[in-house]
């Protein structure tokens, strides 16, 4: 039996509500943690079916028509089994939720670094060397790789104008008009993308490092030209994704094709450099922000114009403006985004697509406005909060930004701060504080899950949902334990297998709430069945401590089940709530930094985030998610950026030595405060997303603190020592 549900409004009276003080929300150990600390967690590349062969992808050194100059020679290297160039191989990774093949055909290279061939050998060393030996020539006209040379794609333009922004700008008492840039960024999950493909007859099993199996299966089947039912994907452990594993990557299709051709299982693991080149990146952006305000700081107009890029044919456009639609009230508004077509590696979703760079930049502009108005930056924001979503007038499902701002301000000790920059000095170091608001749209995605109750009274949660470090194993177990009145240890959670009901997949901060709700619905279905057996209404039934109780009738679950298992299935569809209300998550980030007056180096001394993210499902894993996001904000502000070669667009710093993700020493203790926010429009669990919000304000809190410390305003990210220095000198 399946319980179908869609979130159409705030009323969920027919569904049971979670209790207070139960397993839901508890600060609990990560349930897959033991496997992770002992090394027994098995990631995609670690499956070793008998007869496993090893494939290495080969990149295009240029663009145009691709020719393998010495494939025959390479094929004769002892141990080499195959040099594959197959038109079904994919050029770009699939975009998130594509559900169909991405662009295929590797006889043509559209960007430098594109995969164009696969070399398979009996061991990794041979395959790697043979791939290095393989010579690729590319012939074609030179293609645009610089944003200033690319063509704007008119079909991709986004524009929303409310009121008369031009007049607001020209009549403003106080006006900010600044242009900011952010570089291309990469996800850089610690586990490189990997696939182990194995055929049994016409059926493919692929162990992959993937975030969204229900879509990935369709993408892979479509790429191979087979029925989705013939494809089974497994991904019980995924070593991070951050958007780069939303869609299938080149390794999946290449491994499947080679395994088919050779009649043996084939593994393809991306080299770290390939992780940079062949998976989707976050587009570089150029953003012009205009803020028109009265002297009291009240916004009369706002403008946010962005330019981003992507490869020809790709439909993804970094949604830079997403947060600007609803963060602040202003009667006159100009929002506009343009996409330029460039032959750089494809752009796609990277953790918090849109807000990560859009909110970050906008919140720096707000700081500039606060300075110009002479108003405290927290007060400026509080003064401009909208009653309803500007433009649409949709109500907010819950609006907790003011709470986050004031609570964050109080716990940080913000009010001690001097209003002017360059007031505190410790030796060579300028000390300053900064803050920013954080907003991120909240999304719900279709999700299904099954919960089985064994005759002994243990529960098993089953869905193809993934845990990419997000804590899915933990929270789904807690949800089922809460729903069925069991101890968490009496619940098993099986994830990452397309033989199981299709969860939402991990991405866009929607995984926990979407798939979690499906699990809750499955439990509700079981409750109803048990209530029926007990002869009462589901509402009257109490499930606790492994017992079912109706009035005075209390029975153990094994007694109720009478030797038979019981199974329920839950199915969530996003409903009308998405149109009726603006749903978002809210936060405020405060930071203290030290800026070295000699070198321009920045050290973040404090970073505090106060977040309202719906119901918190597990305090411990939620805190880690928030801290992760905040560190990404730190990286975005200070250290990260891909350099594209100006001549051919290839990523120059495509390794972890030269692309600087923050190291331990860059990150202070991260202080996280989670506010209770039971959003009534978020379904029976009242849960929303948390994984991305932390990025959205942290970078700007740091950049604003840099300005407060030393007076240097960084508008071209990241704030590396040289850029700070050019302001200090």
């Amino acid at each position: 039996m399946t319980l179908d549900y869609q979130i159409d409004g705030p009323e969920n009276e027919e569904l049971t509500k979670p209790s207070q003080g139960g397993p839901l929300g508890a600060d609990m150990e990560r349930r897959d943690g033991r496997d992770k600390v002992t090394g027994s967690a098995c990631y995609a590349a670690e499956y070793r079916p008998k007869g496993l062969l090893h494939g290495v992808l080969k990149r295009a050194p240029g663009t145009g028509a691709v020719r393998l100059s010495n494939a025959e020679d390479v094929g004769t290297i002892p141990g080499v089994r195959l040099v594959l160039q197959d038109e079904r191989m994919i050029r770009n990774a699939a975009q998130g939720t594509a559900g169909e093949a991405p662009v295929q055909g590797v006889s043509k290279a559209e960007y430098v670094g594109q995969p164009v061939a696969l070399v398979v050998a009996e061991n990794f060393e041979t395959a790697w060397h043979a791939a290095n030996r393989l010579q690729i020539s590319c012939e074609g006209a030179s293609l645009p790789v610089l944003p200033e040379n690319g063509e704007v794609d008119d079909d991709m333009q986004e524009e929303a104008i409310t009121g008369e922004p031009a007049t607001a700008f020209s009549d403003a008492e106080v006006f900010v008009d600044e242009t900011y840039t952010t570089p291309a960024l990469t996800s850089a999950p610690m586990e490189p993308h990997a696939a182990v493909a194995e055929w049994h007859g016409d059926r493919l099993t692929l162990h992959g490092s993937l975030q969204m199996l229900r879509y990935n299966r369709l993408e892979l089947a479509d790429s191979l030209g087979i029925e989705p039912e013939k494809v089974r994907l497994r991904a019980p452990f995924v070593g991070g994704g951050f958007g780069s594993k939303l869609g299938i990557s080149a390794d999946c299709v290449a491994a499947a094709l080679a395994a088919r051709e050779l009649g043996q299982p084939v593994r393809v693991v991306q080299h770290r450099r390939q992780v940079f080149e062949v998976n989707t990146r976050r587009s570089e952006t150029r953003q012009r922000i205009r803020l028109a305000a009265g002297r009291d700081g009240r916004l009369t107009g706002l403008g946010h114009e962005a330019r981003v890029s992507n490869l020809p044919g790709e439909e993804f456009s970094e949604p830079v403006l997403q947060g600007s639609y609803f963060a602040y009230a202003a009667p006159n508004r100009l929002l506009r985004s343009d996409l330029v077509r460039l032959n750089r590696p494809a752009a796609g979703s990277v953790r918090a697509p849109g807000e990560a760079v859009g909110v970050t930049v906008f919140e720096v502009a707000m700081d500039e406005l606060a300075g110009k108005c002479g108003i405290d930056p927290v007060k400026l924001r509080l003064r401009n909060l909208p009653e309803a979503e500007p433009g649409s007038d949709r109500p907010f499902s819950s609006h907790r930004l003011a709470d986050c701002l004031t609570k964050g301000r109080d716990s940080f000790g913000w009010d001690d701060r001097p209003a002017e920059p360059r007031q505190r000095r410790e030796g060579e170091w300028w000390i300053g504080t900064g803050m920013a608001a954080a907003v991120r749209v909240n999304m719900v995605m279709p999700a299904e899950a099954r919960v089985r109750l064994t005759p002994e009274g243990r529960a098993v949660v089953e869905t193809d949902m993934t845990d990419i470090g997000t804590g899915t194993y933990s929270i789904l177990g807690q949800i089922a334990a809460e729903g069925l009145g069991l101890a968490v240890d009496d619940v098993d959670v099986c994830l990452g297998d397309t033989d199981l009901p299709a969860g939402s997949g991990s991405g866009g901060s929607f995984g926990a709430a979407s798939t979690g709700t499906a699990v809750w619905l499955a439990c509700e279905e079981i409750r109803r069945e048990i209530a029926g057996r007990m002869g009462c209404d589901a509402q009257e039934l109490t499930l606790s401590d492994g017992h079912a109780a109706c009035g005075n009738d209390r029975r153990s679950l094994p007694e109720v089940l009478a030797g038979e298992p019981l199974s329920g299935r839950g199915k969530l569809e996003p409903g009308e709530a998405l149109e009726k209300v603006r749903q978002a998550t809210w936060g405020a980030v405060f930071s203290e930094v030290a800026v070295n007056d000699v070198t321009g180096e920045v050290r973040v001394r404090r970073l505090q985030g106060t977040f309202a993210v719906g119901r918190v499902l597990n305090q411990r894993t939620a805190r880690s998610q928030a801290q992760g996001g905040m560190t990404w904000g730190l990286g975005l502000a200070l250290t990260e950026g891909m350099a594209h070669d100006r001549r051919d667009g290839h990523i120059v710093n495509r390794d972890l030595a030269e692309y600087h993700v923050p190291v331990n020493a860059d990150v202070p203790h991260l202080d996280v405060h989670l506010l209770e926010d039971l959003d009534p429009w978020a379904g029976p669990l009242a849960a929303k997303g948390i994984g991305e919000l932390g990025i959205c304000g942290s970078g700007s809190a740091i950049l604003n603190a840099i300005h407060h410390a030393c007076g240097v305003r960084i508008r071209d990210l990241p704030a590396t020592p040289d850029r700070i220095l050019s302001g200090l000198t």
């Binding site: 090394g39 990631y43 060393e125 610690m190 991070g240 770290r272 560190t631 331990n664 020493a665 203790h669």
Partner: protein, 166 residues
């Protein structure tokens, strides 16, 4: 070529292409996949193992160079079912998310405590001839050879502080 590797107290007789790194020998030839391949170039620390008491990047050394060494991987940190203090502290403080860097973090942290006990200095040590105190700054500097993209640094540092204080 024939070589012997001693890993977590067990001797393994192997016939290896000299190109096989210590990391690939562990993962592909011995079947110990705890040590991870994150970059294969010494840039991330996911492959960190302890060789003769020292933490090293298993990806940047050849297996045949370690015939006499005692290698400890993450699989060798626990005593049977009993987790090491560091492993337990990582669980208590959620010093992991995706888990891919975790084995390297654990081996690194375990060996790092020994380095500090032996009085080894770090980049942030004020006095090269003074005693070593494991402040937060010392821990973060000494653990900076292990990247964590999920960014569990707060939990990792808290876990290490707890074990260091014991």
């Amino acid at each position: 070529m024939q070589t012997t590797l001693t890993v977590n107290g067990t001797r393994h007789q192997l016939d290896l292409d000299p190109r096989v790194t210590l990391l690939d020998a562990l993962r592909e030839h011995i079947g110990l996949t705890g040590a991870k391949k994150g970059c294969d170039h010494g840039q991330c620390g996911a492959c960190t193992v302890i060789a003769d008491g020292r933490r090293i990047n298993a990806c940047l050394t050849l297996a045949v160079m370690h015939a006499d060494a005692e290698i400890v991987t993450v699989e060798g940190l626990a005593e049977g079912k009993t987790l090491s203090a560091m492993q337990q502290a990582f669980l208590d403080h959620d010093g992991m998310q995706c888990g891919y860097c975790t084995p390297g973090q654990l081996c690194s942290a375990t060996a790092m405590l020994e380095e500090a006990r032996a009085g080894r200095a770090s980049h942030v040590t004020e006095d090269l001839e003074g005693t070593t105190r494991l402040t937060r700054d010392e821990i973060t500097e000494r653990m900076s050879g292990n990247l964590c993209r999920c960014a569990c640094y707060s939990g990792i540092v808290a876990a290490i502080e707890k074990v260091a204080a014991e």
